[in-house]
């Protein structure tokens, strides 16, 4: 389990970050910290700057003001929101996983098995589905044994049962590897249970804190509508079995550990 003392120094510390596209202010003095062993989830409407904040934290977009401090020599596993490969580039999923990291075929298979996508190891990368691409990217991030896992809408394109499974998996990875996790998600009902801290973003930070506290916050209720927010109760789920991609029941899986915050 995560040693709590390691959390004192953040992996990434974003302070008063301001990002502009032309004259539009996309991020307005946004603060964000992610510590070791902590799952932080960004929520907010479309176009509220979630992906821009993730990209700013990773140093992929220039800041108009503010600063981003990254702990020295941390390994980051990144699952970008969009990923597509030109169909003229012949490369298998397995080879894509191994690119830039020393990993054997067996390591790849293990990482793909963890994300329940073992059968796509030898498939051409441009032929797999959107949900499978997300799983492949997550497997690739895991192979790098990251200190920080950054997932931009990891469940987009993943089927409904796969989504719940995915958030269970993210919690499990955090527990096993004691890495920090930064997550962008629209699956409020699933993500609220799996996360330690929620940051509700609409160009500025509307509210932030523990999921149960944020769920009561007037700004949150205002942003998502009180009716909808009430329907999305913080929900903890358990499975006694899991399915692989083909829908087969996978045996020998311990029930997912619960988030302990």
């Amino acid at each position: 389990m995560a040693p709590m003392s390691a959390r004192t120094r953040p992996l990434i510390d974003v302070r008063a970050a301001t990002v502009c596209h032309g004259t539009a202010v996309v991020l307005d003095r946004v603060d964000l910290t992610i510590g070791r062993g902590e799952i932080v989830t960004l929520i907010g409407p479309n176009g509220s700057g979630k992906s821009t904040l993730v990209r700013a934290a990773l140093g992929l977009v220039p800041l108009a003001a503010g600063a981003v401090d990254t702990a020295s020599s941390i390994r980051i596993g990144y699952v970008p929101q969009h990923f597509s490969v030109d169909s003229t580039l012949p490369i298998t999923v397995g080879r894509f996983l191994q690119l830039g990291v020393s990993a054997t075929d067996a390591d790849c298979l293990q990482a793909l098995t963890t994300v329940r996508a073992a059968r796509i190891q030898d498939a051409p990368l441009h032929r797999i589905s959107g949900g499978e691409i997300k799983r492949a990217l997550l497997a690739r991030a895991l192979l790098r044994k990251p200190d920080l896992l950054v997932l931009d809408e990891p469940s987009a394109g993943v089927d409904v049962t796969g989504q719940a499974e995915l958030y269970d998996l993210i919690v499990k990875i955090r527990d096993q590897q004691n890495c920090g996790v930064l997550l962008v998600s629209h699956d409020l009902h699933l993500v609220m249970a799996a996360t330690d801290r929620v940051v509700c973003l609409n160009h500025h930070v509307c509210c932030a804190g523990r999921p149960d506290a944020v769920a009561q916050h007037p700004e949150y209720l205002n942003l998502f509508g009180a009716q909808l927010a009430r329907r999305i109760a913080v929900y903890t789920h358990h499975h006694d079995h899991q399915h692989d991609l083909a829908g087969k029941i996978d045996s020998g899986n311990a029930p997912p550990p619960t988030a302990d915050g």
Partner: protein, 269 residues
């Protein structure tokens, strides 16, 4: 018959060596041009090579050096224009490509004192390859292949996803600049083989032919080189038999190879 065969071999030896050297280099670089969807970019740089020739003749520089400098200049201008102008990439490429070609033709028209073989610059003059040209092609080509091998994993990573590569610590900008340098170099070296108008076909046709038959980036690159070598040899032989222009014959043969490759393995979707 042997005493009549021998001079023919000697005439062809240098062109074949030059063509093979260029084709080996063009294979893997052409793959990246195809994967990165830079065919029109390559065409723009090669059209601009005519301006390099013209300036080289004017300032009495080595023509390879003139072409290299103009290619790099056009590549830099392109990067700047894409940042500051609101025009689509292909529009900017179209403007630069034809402006540079036209400017090259205009500058060449001022050279009254130099006999300019315009057809040779536009469509290649591989039969006139000198020993000095061969040295350029093989030393320059070896340098290019060395650089390409060095940046291969990084270039492959940024071709797949530039942001992912950057997060994983790859020097994205340096790799991009080196790749542009390699494209400029291959154009400078290969200009004599197929000429500025057909140059980009030597990059993309063997690569596109190899794509359907391979399952890894590396095997596609190697097969593209082999296909390019076959096209150069076949084109030169055809040129010899039917007295056709060598550069265009090489391109026609590579197009035939592409057709055969794609008819033998039709797209599975």
């Amino acid at each position: 018959m042997h005493h009549r065969q021998l001079p023919m071999d000697e005439i062809l030896l240098r062109p074949i060596a030059a063509g093979i050297g260029v084709a080996i280099l063009a294979g893997p670089l052409g793959c990246f041009v195809v994967w990165r969807r830079m065919a029109y970019f390559g065409a723009t740089l090669s059209h601009a090579a005519l301006l390099g020739v013209a300036l080289g003749l004017m300032f009495k520089l080595n023509l390879h050096v003139g072409v290299l400098f103009v290619s790099l200049g056009v590549a830099a201008l392109l990067v700047v224009l894409q940042r500051v102008e609101d025009l689509a990439s292909d529009t900017i490429l179209g403007i630069l490509s034809h402006a540079a070609l036209a400017l090259g033709l205009v500058v060449l028209s001022f050279m009254d004192d130099v006999r300019v073989d315009l057809f040779g610059y536009l469509f290649g003059d591989i039969l006139a390859v000198t020993s000095a040209d061969l040295i350029w092609i093989f030393l320059g080509g070896a340098l290019c292949l060395g650089i390409l091998l060095w940046i291969w994993p990084a270039l492959l990573a940024i071709t797949l996803h530039a942001d992912l590569a950057r997060v994983e610590g790859i020097a994205v900008e340096r790799t991009r600049v080196l790749f542009l340098l390699l494209i400029s170099l291959v154009i400078a070296l290969a200009m004599q083989v197929v000429g500025v108008l057909l140059m980009v076909s030597l990059l993309i046709i063997p690569a596109a032919a190899a794509q359907r038959l391979t399952t890894t980036p590396e095997s596609m690159a190697v097969l593209a080189s082999i296909g390019g070598v076959a096209a150069v040899y076949g084109g030169l032989m055809a040129s010899l038999h039917w007295d056709t222009p060598a550069g265009p014959s090489i391109v026609v043969i590579s197009a035939l190879l592409f057709a055969v490759a794609h008819l033998s393995r039709p797209a599975s979707r």
